[in-house]
C-alpha cells in the first residue's frame, strides 16, 4: 500500500475511534508529523496504532491501557526505532513546502495587487490596459516572513503536542492584554515592512507572473509524485 492509500485508509479508520481516544490520537499523530521520519513511516505507525486502539476499544479498554499514560515517551521510543529521513527526503520535503507556499502567496499577491484591480477596472470601462505588475521590496519581505512564520508555528505545535497541559494561571484581562500586545506587535511589523519597502524592485508582465505561479504548482505536483 502506498502513502496516499495508507493515509486514506487511516482517515477512514480514524472515524471509528471513540471521543476519549480520538483526542489522544490527534495529539500523537501531530507529534509524529513533526518527527524526523518519512510520511510513509508516519502513516505506517498511525495504522498500527489505530489497529491497537480499535481492538482495545472492542475489548472495552481505553487507549491508556494500550499505550500507557506517558504518550510522549511512547512516541519518542517509536520514533527512535524507525529509519530517519534521508537527505533526499529532506530536500524533497523542503521543495514541496517551498513550491506550494510560494504558489499560494504568489496567487494571493496577484489577486490583491493594485495593478490587477486597476487592470480589471480598465477592462470593464474600456480604457487602455497596462499588463505590468510591480514587485516591491515589502512584498518579498512579507513573503519570507509568512513562510518562516508558518514553518515555526507548525514546528512549535507539533513539538509541544504531547507536553503536559499547563493550567491557565493568568486572569482573563491579563490574557486579553498580552494577546492584544502580541497581535499589535505583529501588525506593527507588517505595517513597517510595507511602509519602508514600498519601492518597486522590478516589474513583470502579469501573464509571465501567472505562468510562474502555475509553474510552481506543477513543480509542487512533480515533487509529490517523486516522493
Amino acid at each position: 500500500m502506498n502513502e496516499k492509500m495508507l493515509n486514506k485508509s487511516n482517515n477512514d479508520l480514524d472515524k471509528e475511534i471513540n471521543e476519549e481516544s480520538s483526542s489522544a490520537m490527534t495529539d500523537i499523530v501531530c507529534y509524529l508529523r513533526g518527527a524526523n521520519i518519512s510520511t510513509y513511516y508516519q502513516e505506517t505507525v498511525r495504522r498500527d496504532l489505530l489497529e491497537m486502539v480499535l481492538s482495545a476499544q472492542d475489548r472495552g479498554e481505553s487507549i491508556q491501557s494500550v499505550i500507557g499514560e506517558d504518550y510522549k515517551t511512547f512516541c519518542d521510543e517509536v520514533i527512535a526505532n524507525l529509519p530517519k529521513k534521508t537527505r533526499k527526503e529532506r530536500i524533497l520535503d523542503f521543495f514541496e513546502i517551498f513550491f506550494l507556499g510560494t504558489a499560494i502567496l504568489g496567487g494571493i499577491n496577484l489577486v490583491m495587487s493594485k495593478e490587477t484591480i486597476t487592470l480589471l477596472g480598465n477592462i470593464i470601462s474600456g480604457q487602455s490596459l497596462n499588463f505590468q505588475m510591480s514587485i516591491t521590496a515589502s512584498s518579498l519581505l512579507l513573503y519570507g516572513i509568512n513562510i518562516a512564520g508558518a514553518c515555526i508555528i507548525v514546528e512549535v505545535i507539533c513539538k509541544t503536542a504531547l507536553n503536559p497541559k499547563k493550567e491557565k494561571h493568568l486572569s482573563k484581562p491579563k490574557r486579553f492584554i498580552i494577546g492584544g500586545l502580541a497581535g499589535g506587535g505583529v501588525m506593527a511589523v507588517f505595517i513597517l515592512v510595507a511602509w519602508f519597502g514600498k519601492n518597486t524592485l522590478f516589474t513583470v508582465n502579469i501573464f509571465v507572473y501567472c505562468f510562474a505561479v502555475l509553474g510552481l504548482l506543477v513543480a509542487y505536483k512533480i515533487v509529490k509524485v517523486i516522493k
Partner: protein, 111 residues
Amino acid sequence: MIPSQMLKGILEGCILKIISRNETYGYEISQKLQEYGFSLIAEGTIYPVLLRLEKNALICAQYRESSCGPKRKYFSITESGTKELHTFIENWQELETGVNRVFAESEKENQ
C-alpha cells in the same frame, strides 16, 4: 515491577522466542508475556521493541484480516532472528549462571 532499563534487553529475547514458536501479533505477545509473569506489559510497551526487531530484519511482518477491527500485523521470525535468539540464549545462560553464583555466595556469607 521490573525496572524499564533491565526489562528492555530481556524483553527483546523473550519476544523473539514467542514469535519463533508460531506467527503471532502484538496483543497476543503481550498477553503471553503476562501469562509468563511479566507484570503490566501493555501492547504499547512491546510495539517499539517489535519495530526495532523488524528494522533489524530479525522478524518480518504481514498484515492479515482480523475477526474484529482493522487488519492485524502478524510477525514471524527470520533466519537472522533465529541466529540472534541463539546468541541471546547463550548470553542469558552465561549471565544467569554468573548472577546466581554471586547471590549464592552472598547467601552463604549471610548464614
